[in-house]
């Protein structure tokens, strides 16, 4: 499912007959399945299929780019906290507690606003907000490894703490965090789309599922498909990601 989506997003320029930003004011609000426009057109006569696929390009690549830093930073911070325990753990717990006190979307909205709308702002926002999930999972796992024989053995061999974390603990934490990565990506995509919907994410006219939903909202009586189709895309991606996550979890559990 995800493969199909990525393939469609990658080949969008070759399969789309229309420029996603080209307006055609003589052909506005065409219903889906009309001649020439498989999914219809919006109020400015832009082809929805093209916009959907180009939006997939933007949304998926922003999602991937915004996930890189939180994934590594969060995992590393969490492993360090779990491995050292004691004071390091207490400090990091206090920081995560503080972050958790902020309602998630409030934090995302406010930080995105403060750092400025656009792709750059989104990536910075999730650098600040996104690492928590990984830190928590990695911390719990690393703490459970702390007193195992193989960690003790590595210590006896005189390995440095950094080396133990990077080469002994990290490979053992990895499967779990990758599963978390899949669910978190779905959540991140929803956040990106929500920001787009609120007008503080990817800015129009760049196609983005969120801004497409919000542009369609005023016409929900007459042309509900304007909002419904991009929403379905988000749901589709979410399901695809969670299936990948489940699959990976099953494979590694064995």
């Amino acid at each position: 499912m995800m493969g199909l989506l990525i393939l469609l997003a990658l080949t969008a320029p070759y399969i789309c007959r229309y420029d996603p930003m080209a307006q055609d004011l003589y052909a506005t609000l065409k219903k889906p399945m009309t001649e020439g426009h498989l999914l219809g057109t919006d109020q400015l006569g832009r082809d929805i299929l093209s916009r959907i696929l180009y939006a997939a390009r933007t949304d998926l690549s922003v999602m991937a780019a915004a996930e890189v830093f939180p994934f590594f930073a969060g995992t590393f911070i969490g492993m360090a906290a779990g491995y050292f325990g004691g004071r390091a753990d207490a400090v990091i717990s206090l920081i995560t507690d503080t972050f958790i006190a902020f309602p998630y979307y409030l934090l995302v909205i406010v930080v995105a606003f403060m750092t400025g709308a656009g792709i750059h702002g989104i990536i910075v926002t999730f650098m600040i907000v996104g690492w928590l999930v990984y830190a928590r999972v990695a911390k719990a796992l690393a703490a459970s490894f702390r007193n195992t024989e193989w960690v003790e053995a590595a210590k006896l061999l005189g390995y440095s703490d950094l080396r133990i974390i990077a080469f002994e603990i990290f490979p053992n934490v990895l499967p779990q965090v990758v599963v978390v990565l899949m669910t978190d990506m779905a959540a991140l995509l929803v956040s990106i789309v929500t920001l787009g919907y609120l007008g503080i994410g990817i800015s129009p006219p760049t196609p983005d599922w969120g801004s497409m939903i919000s542009e369609g909202q005023s016409l929900i009586n007459t042309a509900p498909y304007l909002s419904l189709i991009p929403g379905f895309m988000v749901v589709y991606t979410g399901i695809a990601l969670s299936l990948i996550g489940d699959g990976l979890a099953d494979r590694w559990r064995r």
């Binding site: 006190a101 309602p103 998630y104 403060m114 939903i213 929900i220 009586n221 979410g238």
Partner: protein
């Protein structure tokens, strides 16, 4: 002799309970302090000069200076921070709103009741439906209902809540005309009636994950040794359920719900926008489009402190209802109730 020992045990438990209370309070307080610091530094995230951002690139130099003066941007950071802290701890305020020229605190307090009502309404719907569904799933394990309840979260996880709201509007407000499309109705009945769709939307975003975790908790309790013992003692199943399982499920439900509440408040702000409800969400988005920094800070601060308060209260209730919660670290490894 025995009385003496009993007294000692009693005193010790009371001490431990008091200790727990103080510890929870201290932790909450330190989180509040950190929140305050974080909210202060939020404004430092703005690239460039906030005053220029408010007034625009081509604003008058004198105007910019005046606003810089008002926002204390000309002072050294330490002095700004001291003033910010002083304002918060003396007046619970983050300064006057740039747009409205009145205290941000007053604005927040003015807009908060609608949001609180919405959150409360959504919470009631969430808890009631989640508990019913989780009980159904747990008592009919591996039935069709159970499977449905386990699969649904996979679908809803990646579903934007505001989009669900739009679908509900389209079906129940536009096509069926049961509810208003947006806004808040007047009068007691009109008020709650108009909040129904937004509340259901928020609840729909919460229920699946809550049901899933609640179901696992319930199954764990139902398989616990003490339930087996009760069954062996020929206690009627209904009594076991009402008196024992329900009682034991209360604390986990409460804790799960308190974790979800923070998330729910964030969602509420967005749903308010979808349904054009004039609450904190409206205030926040207006403040954002006006670049009204003090007001954004006030909304953020009040929401976060509210979440800390709620989680402190739930933690204390949980500790009162279930003494085991007080000594998680020194657990005796015994799960029986």
């Amino acid at each position: 002799m025995t009385a003496d020992i009993q007294y000692k045990i009693k005193k010790e438990t009371r001490l431990r309970a008091g200790h727990h209370f103080v510890y929870a309070l201290l932790r909450a307080l330190s989180v509040v302090v950190l929140i305050t610091i974080a909210v202060f530094f939020l404004m430092r995230l703005v690239p460039g000069d906030p005053a220029v951002m408010v007034l625009g690139e081509h604003a008058d130099e004198a105007e910019i200076q005046k606003l810089r003066e008002q926002l204390m941007l000309n002072e050294p950071l330490s002095k700004q921070f001291a003033a910010f802290l002083g304002n918060i701890f003396l007046h619970f305020d983050t300064g006057d709103s740039i747009k409205y020229g009145v205290s941000s605190r007053d604005l927040v307090l003015q807009y908060a009741p609608v949001t609180l009502a919405l959150v409360a309404y959504a919470s009631v719907i969430t808890v009631i439906s989640a508990v019913i569904l989780a009980f159904l799933a747990a008592t009919h394990k591996d039935s069709l209902i159970d499977h449905a309840i386990r699969v649904i979260p996979a679908f809803t996880q990646g579903m934007p809540v505001f989009w669900i709201g739009l679908i509900l509007i389209s079906v129940f407000a536009v096509n069926l005309g049961w509810f208003p499309v947006g806004g808040v109705g007047s009068g007691m009945g009109g008020f709650w009636h108009s909040l129904t769709l937004p509340a259901v939307t928020i609840a729909l975003g919460q229920i699946p994950s809550l049901v899933r975790s609640l179901r696992e908790q319930l199954l764990e309790i139902m398989d616990a040794d003490f339930v087996l013992t009760l069954r062996a003692a020929k206690i009627p199943e209904s009594v076991i359920f009402r008196k024992h399982i329900f009682k034991n499920a209360f604390v986990p439900t409460l804790m799960l719900f308190s974790v979800n509440l923070s998330y729910m408040i964030g969602g509420t702000l967005i749903i308010e926008r979808v349904f054009a409800v004039r609450g904190m969400g409206k205030l926040l988005f207006d403040a954002i489009s006006n670049r009204d920094f003090p007001l954004v800070q006030a909304v953020t601060l009040y929401c976060a402190v509210f979440v800390v308060l709620i989680s402190l209260i739930t933690e204390l209730i949980a500790a009162k209802a279930d003494p085991r919660m007080r000594q998680k670290e020194k657990s005796f490894g015994n799960n029986a109730g």
